[in-house]
């Protein structure tokens, strides 16, 4: 734990007063910016803060010069040594696939399960080595996009910490396990499996479900328990409340005109989020020819990206959202016994939403969040029925899970059985329950007493430590399997590489228990589908392997009749003695803790807070004022007899009197990257109140903790970089975003072609590469940042270096706030190299290591760069990244496999930045030239464009008037970032538009904007 000695205090009251005066700037990025603290000023005026350029390894300047001299001399000598010999190792027998051509990648369809639900993927393979994940355009849950977790899967696959020893040792371990497990199986057979328990995560896999079913037939007394900390118990319970049975709910966002989210972060988390984001964004692509968009209302406790994408957002404590839902139900004619108290402002907001929903019957949609109570889900079902949305925007099917169970209850029963000694053999297939089980179940305490316990796991983690046996698990990129997507589509998981650490799958362990230890997971999966597909199996199987899923396995739409007319009051939950509320959330980047050892995800700035490498206690500015808290103040949180300490983060827009804790941190056995980071909120979490807890007590300590955020890095000096308008204004005047008060008064006019330098005739070239980013579609999900990291071999630097402003991401997401502290509007803006036609970086490079090509690419030539950093200094967008130290790990063998062979791995002292994925441009250009044709629009897809779930990023040839990018650049709300300084950026943005409800539009704006449509 690093403690910062000097720290400036924020005066929140003063900030509030300044914002209220209204003569300050419109947009702000952080509280520190508003307060103008010294730290912030430093980041502003020096791109890299004091000390970032110095070598701080305790080496004096004198020694440094000595070393420099020596290394210079060596570097000189190095030039005349001869190149070391390199080996070429051909195949002995080429793989049976004809398409394997050394130097050309292949793509295989597979799927990534998370929380049980699959997202279809296409994985790039270079001679049998997976290097990059793309979405599967034909898969219903992906449509070509993916989330951050799928992108980072490559790093987990090659994580050196997964190894538990040599392959020989692992195989010996497996043999020993076989010897040990057979008597256990025999003993269980004698008692019909009375002491046998299987604990898995959520299972949607048809094959795994079938195996478990067979197991439970063979051992009738055995039990199967599913548990994962981020489960859908409330969703299931809500459906059971209304329909008397578990029902899966899917949303057709394409059909919805008005959407209300009740604490649901449906754009970035939960089953089907990638697909939902696409459908949502498709209804927000406002063009001059199509001036229509949906309207999103979000009521939420913790500011989320979905809240940021909303047209109207209302912060409300998590526990009050049920009250809101009940009041809304009442307003729309659903009887409700409870009379929830709501403030007049909330009631006004609610009535406006209710009217809007009523006016859009059959075209509206209410989505309840997974972290809300069953009653909220039940109310959402009733409301959607009342509004006639069923079969239109809401589709019901049978549950997608193989068996929808009450996971918390089942785990409680299991824990009790373990404690009482009833469990003789426990097989934990995946998951990490010793770390993430609710604290009141005492699962962790009971686990060591189980006589024969087995943990199948990717890592040797907290649970493995307490089990008698650990079996290394095969990663999903190494294993055969299947899983269902959010809509039921059975997706196939096929391996891209043989298990690196001799890992096994759950299929193989279950086959062993069933007496079929000879079966591989391929045999098991194939056998299942052989028995369950009709017609020519071989053809269907081959087609499924190619498509990535089995056609026609989507769950059938079904009607379910509501069995209740109103929702009874929720049972009261056990409250602590304090006066705050606590909301638990999965962490936005490391989820429930399973990705803790993934450096890409750890260093990925978390949405909105831009925190890296840590979690924090999120509180609202008002609560911070009340408790006199500053950023980084360590607080003790006590709840139901348990205490945890963590640093505070003041979160604008957070609901008052509530703290949010992100799960997944505080791991002790995560591996060399993820252990001992942050604090562990699981220690407060109980089975009864998994998401919302009442009566938390907060005590301020006098300690400080350094939280590292990138929000203040690379700031562009208070200019207004996001342009925002309202749909109504846009309809009246499409040019409105150009001269609204939001445009920073720049009027969007450059200075023509004024330049001291001779201008290259780019418009006469065949190709001129350019990009547009639609801020109205962008939800800020970070997928582009991590896709870019995987594609371009970008290093991670660690927490201490991020604190110095040395993070290396080529594309960053800037978050801007607008308005007051308590409920600001939030805007997201991805920023990468703009490839300026008159690039300021190029004119200052003394060695011409950055120069232009004829298609307008601002090229960065690593082998010429001598590291002066003048270019970065002169870049108005602050998009250049410098390798201050040797960040790229060039020694760990498994990490070498993860690299993209078509991109140079940079060493210390080299500048780097976005290249518009020049390796992809070159590959496409060479193919086209070989075929003697011109490049087509859409043939070159940059990594960020490919991954974008909302297709907000479009890349192409701006000299071709028919290309998508040229058409977008002709839109009236297209603008260039800082275009007034006449650098002629090739990347431009489409302004963000808000579809405001006239009844809720800010009053002071009313006369200026006139009536809203």
């Amino acid at each position: 734990m690093t403690t910062k000695t000097h720290k400036e205090h924020l005066d929140l009251a003063a900030i509030r007063a300044r914002l209220a005066e209204g003569n300050g700037q419109t947009f702000w990025r952080s509280l520190e910016e508003l307060a103008g603290t010294k730290d912030f000023q430093e980041f502003l005026h020096r791109e890299f803060p004091q000390g970032a350029s110095e070598w701080e390894d305790g080496v004096s300047r004198r020694n440094f010069l000595k070393l420099m001299g020596a290394s210079l001399a060596l570097a000189g000598l190095n030039a005349c040594t001869r190149q070391p010999a390199e080996k070429i190792v051909p195949y002995n027998v080429p793989p049976p696939i004809e398409e394997v051509v050394p130097g050309r990648p292949l793509f295989f369809a597979t799927a990534m399960p998370l929380g049980g639900f699959a997202t279809g993927l296409l994985v790039e393979s270079h001679l049998g080595r997976p290097t990059k994940v793309e979405g599967n355009p034909n898969h219903s849950a992906s449509l070509g996009g993916t989330d951050i977790f799928a992108q980072a899967a490559i790093l987990t696959l090659y994580d050196p910490d997964r190894s538990t020893g040599t392959t020989t040792a692992v195989e010996a371990n497996w043999k020993a396990f076989l010897t040990a497990v057979n008597p256990q199986i025999a003993a269980q057979r004698a008692t019909q499996g009375a002491g046998l328990r299987i604990l898995t995560e959520t299972v949607t896999s048809p094959t795994l479900a079938k195996q478990i079913e067979q197991l439970l037939t063979t051992f009738p007394q055995a039990k199967w328990v599913q548990y994962e900390p981020v489960n859908r118990d409330a969703v299931r319970a809500g459906a059971e409340m209304v329909f008397g049975q578990a029902v899966a709910t899917h949303y057709q966002l394409a059909e919805a005109d008005v959407i209300l989210s009740l604490d649901a972060d449906f754009l970035v988390s939960g089953p089907g989020n990638v697909r939902y984001a696409r459908d949502f964004a498709n209804r927000r692509r406002v063009r001059e020819e199509a001036k229509e968009m949906n309207r999103l209302y979000v009521v939420e406790n913790t500011p989320s990206l979905t809240g940021g994408a909303a047209d109207h957002r209302l912060p409300l404590r998590a526990s009050q959202i049920e009250s809101f839902a009940r009041a809304l139900a009442k307003a729309l004619g659903i009887p409700d016994e409870t009379n929830p108290p709501l403030t007049p402002e909330v009631t006004k907001w609610l009535n406006a939403v209710a009217n809007d929903l009523k006016n859009h019957e059959g075209k509206s949609l209410i989505i309840a969040g997974e972290y809300q109570s069953p009653a909220v889900h039940a109310l959402a079902h009733l409301l959607n029925q009342k509004l006639g949305n069923i079969g239109k925007t809401v589709v019901y099917t049978a549950p997608i899970e193989a068996k929808a169970t009450n996971q918390s209850k089942d785990l409680r029963d299991l824990s009790n059985e373990m404690a009482s000694g009833k469990v003789e053999a426990l097989f934990i297939l995946g998951g990490n329950p010793a770390f993430d089980a609710p604290t009141d179940l005492k699962f962790t305490q009971a686990l060591p007493s189980v006589p024969f316990s087995v943990h199948l796991s990717l890592y040797r983690n907290e649970t493995s430590e307490l089990c008698k046996w650990t079996l290394p698990e095969a990663h999903f990129l190494e294993a055969w399997g299947d899983a269902r997507a959010y809509d039921g589509t059975a997706s196939i998981i096929q391996p891209l590489i043989a298990p690196l650490h001799a890992g096994k799958t759950a299929h193989e362990v279950l086959a062993l228990l069933l007496g079929r230890s000879d079966q591989t997971s391929y045999d098991v999966v194939r056998e299942y589908w052989q028995n369950n597909l009709t017609g020519n199996f071989e053809a269907a199987w081959q087609k499924a392997l190619q498509d990535g899923f089995f056609e026609g396995t989507k769950a059938e739409e079904k009607g379910f009749a509501a069995q209740i007319k109103s929702v009874p009051a929720s049972p009261s939950i056990n409250a602590g003695a304090g006066n705050l509320e606590v909301a638990f959330r999965p962490d936005p980047t490391i989820w429930d803790g399973r990705f803790a050892n993934n450096g890409w995800l750890q260093e990925l700035p978390k949405p909105l807070t831009k925190l890296t490498w840590d979690n924090a206690v999120l509180v609202s500015p008002a609560t911070a004022e009340r408790f006199k808290l500053q950023r980084g103040t360590v607080v003790d949180l006590s709840y139901l007899g348990k205490t945890v300490s963590g640093p505070v983060w003041i979160m604008p827009g957070h609901a008052e009197d509530c703290v949010t804790l992100c799960l997944g941190y505080g791991r002790t056995k995560a591996g060399s990257v993820g252990s001992n980071l942050g604090f562990n909120p699981y220690t407060l979490r109980t089975a009864d109140a998994p998401w919302i807890g009442l009566g938390l007590d907060l005590v301020k300590t006098n300690q400080d903790f350094q939280l590292v955020t990138t929000q203040e890095h690379r700031n562009m000096e208070g200019r207004n970089h996001v342009r925002v308008g309202s749909l109504a204004e846009f309809i009246k005047d499409p040019e409105s975003t150009k001269h609204s008060e939001h445009s920073g008064g720049a009027e969007g006019e450059g200075h023509g072609n004024l330049s001291l330098y001779e201008r290259f005739p780019y418009e006469e070239q065949k190709y001129a590469w350019g990009m547009t980013i639609d801020l109205n579609s962008c939800i800020g999900c970070n997928a582009c940042t991590i896709a870019c990291q995987a594609e371009n071999n970008i290093s991670i630097v660690g927490k201490a270096q991020v604190a110095n402003g040395r993070e290396m991401h080529w594309i960053r997401i800037d978050t801007y706030y607008e308005g007051g502290l308590d409920n600001p509007n939030t805007y997201q803006q991805p920023v990468a190299c703009m490839h300026c036609e008159l690039a300021p970086c190029e004119t200052v490079c003394p060695v011409e290591a950055t120069v232009h090509d004829d298609a307008g690419l601002n090229q960065m030539i690593y082998n010429r760069c001598v590291g002066t950093r003048y270019c970065s200094n002169n870049c108005p967008y602050k998009v250049r990244r410098f390798n201050f130290l040797q960040f790229a790990d060039e020694t760990t063998p498994s990490l070498k496999l993860a690299r993209n062979p078509n991109v140079t791995v940079r060493t210390r002292g080299i500048m780097e930045k976005c290249t518009y994925c020049v390796q992809r441009i070159n590959a496409a250009r060479i193919e086209a030239k070989k075929q003697g044709r011109d490049l087509q629009d859409g043939e070159i897809v940059t990594a960020c464009e490919a991954v974008c779930p909302t297709q907000a990023i479009v890349f192409g040839n701006i000299n071709d008037p028919k290309s998508r990018v040229a058409k977008l650049k002709a839109e009236p709300h297209n603008y260039g970032l800082l275009e007034e300084i006449n650098v002629v950026p090739r990347t431009s943005y489409l302004a963000r538009l808000k579809n405001l409800n006239p009844a809720l539009a800010p009053e002071e704006k009313a006369p200026e904007h006139g009536e809203h449509g």
């Binding site: 070429i88 195949y91 082998n863 060479i926």
Partner: protein, 219 residues
């Protein structure tokens, strides 16, 4: 007392210039050494684990380059054939020759067989065989008379300047596509005219404009 006599001035001047001269000489000779055929291993046959002879296979037996280097027209990498390709003939031909025993053993046991790379570019250079072959750059233009080499050596120094010679003026080197794999082909007297004509025919951009951009090879 005078420590430095007047002639010390001369000594100082000479040695000051002398140091400069020595440093300049050192830098210059390093630069020369770096580009020398010795450092670049030009004309130095590279030993391989078995004495495979291009002279025999490509020369005397007249096998086409693409019999083994199958990917040269499609991929960046010209590929070295899988051992299966070798054994297709050598299971019958010279099957018992001691010279091919290591190869045979690897093919039978599945052990890796390591050839030593002859034409090795730095890792920040991305050369693509397929585009060159498709635009009329012959094998022998860069690799020399491979069909006369019992053990392969470099005939060119593979410096960036050498690459640029052609990228700046492809007309000096291009040949008709159908002659690319012809090891005997010699540039005609009117090569520049032919080259210009081929550049037009194969849509090769004029070198100065496009082919010398850094990103063509570096990324």
């Amino acid at each position: 007392m005078q420590i430095f006599r007047p002639r010390a001035n001369t000594v100082f001047k000479v040695s000051a210039f002398g140091v400069l001269y020595v440093v300049a000489l050192l830098v210059w000779s390093l630069a020369i050494l770096d580009r020398s055929n010795y450092t670049r291993r030009v004309n130095e046959p590279i030993a391989q684990p078995i004495p495979y002879s291009h002279e025999l296979h490509a020369g005397s037996l007249g096998m086409d380059c693409r019999y083994c280097h199958t990917a040269v027209e499609d991929s960046a990498f010209a590929n070295v054939p899988p051992l299966e390709t070798c054994m297709a003939c050598h299971n019958e031909v010279k099957a018992n020759s001691l010279l091919i025993q290591p190869l045979k053993e690897a093919a039978q046991t599945g052990k890796a067989f390591e050839w030593t790379r002859v034409h090795d570019l730095p890792d920040f250079v991305y050369f693509n065989h397929s585009i060159h072959v498709n635009k009329g750059v012959g094998c022998s233009t860069c690799h020399g008379p491979i069909d006369k080499m019992p053990t392969v050596w470099r005939v060119k120094d593979l410096t960036m300047g050498w690459c640029l010679d052609c990228h700046r003026a492809p007309e000096n080197y291009l040949r008709p596509r159908e002659e690319v794999f012809n090891m005997e082909w010699q540039p005609p007297a009117e090569q520049v005219a032919l080259g210009r004509q081929l550049m037009q025919k194969y849509n090769v951009p004029s070198g100065r404009l496009v082919l010398t951009h850094c990103n063509i090879c570096h990324r």
